[in-house]
Symmetry: C2
Subunit: 526 residues, 2 copies
């Protein structure tokens, strides 16, 4: 193991004393650590690293955590796919609105395209007013600006912005005079029957990279010159002094602002202004190269989502006689990236669950005639056949997940070993599901003890194994316990799950596989 | 005149061909300018600089524009007032909610304090739920996050954030894992009857400046190390890699992110991690120095507004038995700064109007027995006495402003000289007032011609001078003209203004001065 930085290592201690186990936030201040903190003793094993600190604290770090690479937040050129128009000669990243809504994988593909390529198009979005806000709401939050919650792009009688005329607009980013600038833009086409008015996109990161390759000093000038962008109308006076090309502290392109219309008056010595204007003109010329400009047409119902700190957007002039109407709004990349990460996490969780059913689930189920996987799949199928709500189908399907060894790992172990499989399973599922799913799982053992107490003849129907575990689990409830149980939220759902549980022990019942339930589980994870 | 950069100068040409006169946006692309552009001839005079360009274009630049200094967008340390707690020993920047709403000067003072010192407190804000959103709405737009449109800061049973417990929270900025991070935060106190729970603020720019002075290399490390800030719950997975101290391309402090709880795992060689942690610990220790920490208590009805990319906020622990409930929301500095600029611009406009009344207004009024200022003040006072709506009082007060030479300047001249004083005045006033004020001004001459046409005996009552100008202006309207006039929006208001106009020619009528009308005008400018 390579050399370790002591304060870094200690700051990352995952123990319950150092870190809130519910939300992962640190519970100590960096200044709480003593001066001269050192590793007093360390033990390495396959499981990871155990450290005794000079102040007596003990930490354990999983090997996989120690070996993890850094990655990034996905916002610099390092995590983008730079493009020229030719890269989309077979089509642009797109999906139907219907598929986007129905299928998490399709949603992840669209949002992933925005993250990597800077844009995607949704087709068949209902062409009704304000719908663009609903599109933004599928992955984030609308950013309200001086243009309102949304803006209409069409010819206006007394425009406060050239966008609201019919003239051609050269490639630009929006709102550079705002700081923070809106990092995403959505344009939803309600009508485009006017001749002209085609859309153009240019990858500003690509253009900046071309500038860096062809004229490194010009690139440097544009990264180090704060440019005043201004906008002014009767109710507004905005100004932001930001470079045309923003780089992160490591020099990687992170943000492009480019809007010829709103560059205000830069001040400085003539030679600096000369250098800036030479670089600016060179960069502007690159953004106009035909091979960099992707042209396409937005038709009624299309909604373009794009990265407003990377892509420059443009439009050709159009004839005022025809009708062209887009509705737009702004949003932010951070929420889009978060939504995408949660979708990826959910897909990984479903893969993990599928793996449990295929792997450990194939094992014996405590002396029953079915495997654990068959038992749970049967329970899910019985719930589905009974017309139960999706959350109950999921609870029935997953009720015994606490039996799986694979589920007992990681941070759950740190909360203290718990051998009650209903609790363990529910807590493990909480990472992905709400209480409507996890509570019936948590209570399904109690539900058996409850039913045996209140329902004559119920106990007699238990399987041999279930009768055995009933006794281990405490036997039928007392009248008092039963009343308390019945008062719990989720008790009725737990009882329903329990009944399917008892029935789901038929050998060779021919139930559907785990994949059958994946869409239902995915929908519940939202 | 010093040496001038040609492309810079040309890019700033103010002529109507180069710049949309309505919104100030540029009408040409920087790439439209020819290579080798040069000044062919230049003429300097007191009025400014006239340039003939090598491509034949002509530009005129006012001297005052040429001599203007750069300034900035107000966001770096250059435009801030760094502070320690002692700077507020006589009290914090504050205002009553009532005064803030009623008085633009008070509003400007509060917003100016947020811009310069990073915070202000409004007292007596109605202690009702969701009121914090209304406070944000007075200067900007709410930024919605994963915490919702607003968030409740009180003890919660299953918190996803330590803020929602009763423990002490060390100085920090919020949401560093967002990019763009919300640049403003509002905290509105609905109840604070719990012992403890006091608020603390630390000027992060000051703390960063102290670090720079005491340990320049540590300061440099913190500006050049992107730190992963992370937040994760069931629906959210946010990450932003940003330095603790963000500087602009000129090295000036522009943004501080500091949140011990949400710093994720930095990766890199051990020596870099050692250097970062040494700098981070030193900076953290500075933020905890008592002399830097301003302590105060938010009471029911107080609303704290603060700069979330500059100030660190903290709270002491409180007893869970007592009741403490804040509602908070996020917003952004750009809109606050815009609102402040518009308020300043309006105050300057009112000063300019006041100057006109005091200066040129004291001159003769086309042969009447009153000065121009007296005439307009009388008209305003008559409208007020008649119980007219504020916009009509304003229109009556300002109806002849087009007579003032002072109003005929700047960009209005560039729109073409217009000697019809009603049009000129209305257009001049459009910079500050809506059509409800400017339309009656624009139509008040037409209204005389209308009244003389449709109202028997009206013409006979005109003053001698007014009878003279009636003929110059075209005489009474034809029946057709009168019908067209009556159909205009604003015609009725213009007629009302006209009647006060005719009456407002009494010598020694003893009208109130301009200052009497200032609050009414200020309210209409919003």
């Amino acid at each position: 193991m390579s050399q370790l930085s002591p304060y870094w290592l200690r700051d990352n201690c995952p123990c319950a004393e150092c870190r809130d186990q519910r939300n992962g936030q640190k519970l100590f201040q960096i200044t709480d650590l003593p001066d001269g903190l050192a590793i007093a003793a360390r033990t390495e094993s396959d499981g990871g690293l155990e450290v005794l600190w000079s102040d007596g604290h003990r930490s354990r770090y999983p090997l996989e955590w120690l070996e993890q690479q850094g990655g990034g937040d996905g916002r610099t050129e390092a995590d983008k796919r730079p493009w020229t128009a030719a890269d989309f000669r077979h089509g642009v990243p797109e999906a139907s609105w219907e598929a986007y809504l129905a299928d998490p994988a399709e949603r992840a593909a669209v949002l992933g395209a925005v993250r990597r390529s800077g844009f995607a198009v949704l087709r068949g979005v209902p062409a009704v007013e304000r719908q663009v806000l609903a599109v933004a709401g599928t992955f984030g939050y609308v950013r309200v600006t001086n243009y309102g919650e949304l803006f209409d792009v069409r010819v206006e009688p007394d425009p406060n912005n050239l966008a609201f005329t019919s003239v051609a607009i050269a490639p630009h980013t929006d709102n550079p005079y705002r700081d923070p600038v809106p990092t995403l833009q959505l344009l939803h086409c309600l009508d485009n029957s006017a001749p002209g008015g085609d859309s153009g996109l240019v990858d500003g990161f690509k253009a900046a990279a071309v500038l860096r390759a062809e004229a490194p000093e010009d690139f440097a000038v544009l990264t180090r010159t704060p440019v005043p962008f201004v906008f002014r109308d009767r109710a507004t006076e905005l100004r932001a002094d930001r470079p045309l090309i923003g780089v992160d502290p490591l020099g990687r392109i992170r943000e492009v602002r480019f809007n010829n219309r709103s560059i205000g008056t830069l001040r400085g010595p003539a030679e600096e202004l000369d250098a800036f204007y030479a670089a600016y003109r060179r960069f502007a010329a690159i953004t106009l190269r035909p091979e960099l400009r992707l042209e396409f047409r937005l038709d009624r119902g299309d909604c373009l989502i794009f990265d407003n700190v990377r892509l420059l957007h443009a439009r050709t002039a159009f004839e005022q006689d025809g009708s062209r109407h887009l509705q737009g709004c702004y949003a932010d990349l951070d929420s889009l990236t978060s939504t995408l990460a949660v979708l990826d996490r959910q897909a990984a969780a479903l893969d993990e669950l599928a793996g449990l059913f295929a792997g450990e689930g194939a094992g014996e189920y405590l002396g029953e005639a079915v495997t654990m996987a068959e038992h749970m799949l049967q329970a899910g199928a019985l719930a589905e056949a009974a017309g139960a709500a999706p959350h109950l189908v999921a609870a029935a399907l997953l009720h015994d997940v606490g039996h799986f060894q694979g589920a007992l790992h990681g941070r759950d172990l740190m909360l203290g070993q718990d051998n009650r499989h209903s609790d363990t399973g529910a807590r493990w599922l909480e990472r992905w599901f709400g209480p409507e799913v996890t509570e019936p799982v948590r209570l399904h053992v109690a539900a058996k003890r409850y039913l045996c107490a209140v329902e004559p003849g119920y106990r007699a129907k238990l399987s041999e194994a279930s009768e055995y575990t009933l006794r281990v689990q405490g036997g039928p409830m007392s009248a008092e316990q039963a009343a308390a149980f019945a008062a719990l939220p989720g008790a009725a759902d737990a009882v329903a799950v329990r009944r399917w549980d008892e029935q789901a022990k038929e050998a060779d019942a021919g139930t559907p596989g785990f994949e059958h339930f994946r869409p239902l589980l995915a929908a519940l994870m939202r």
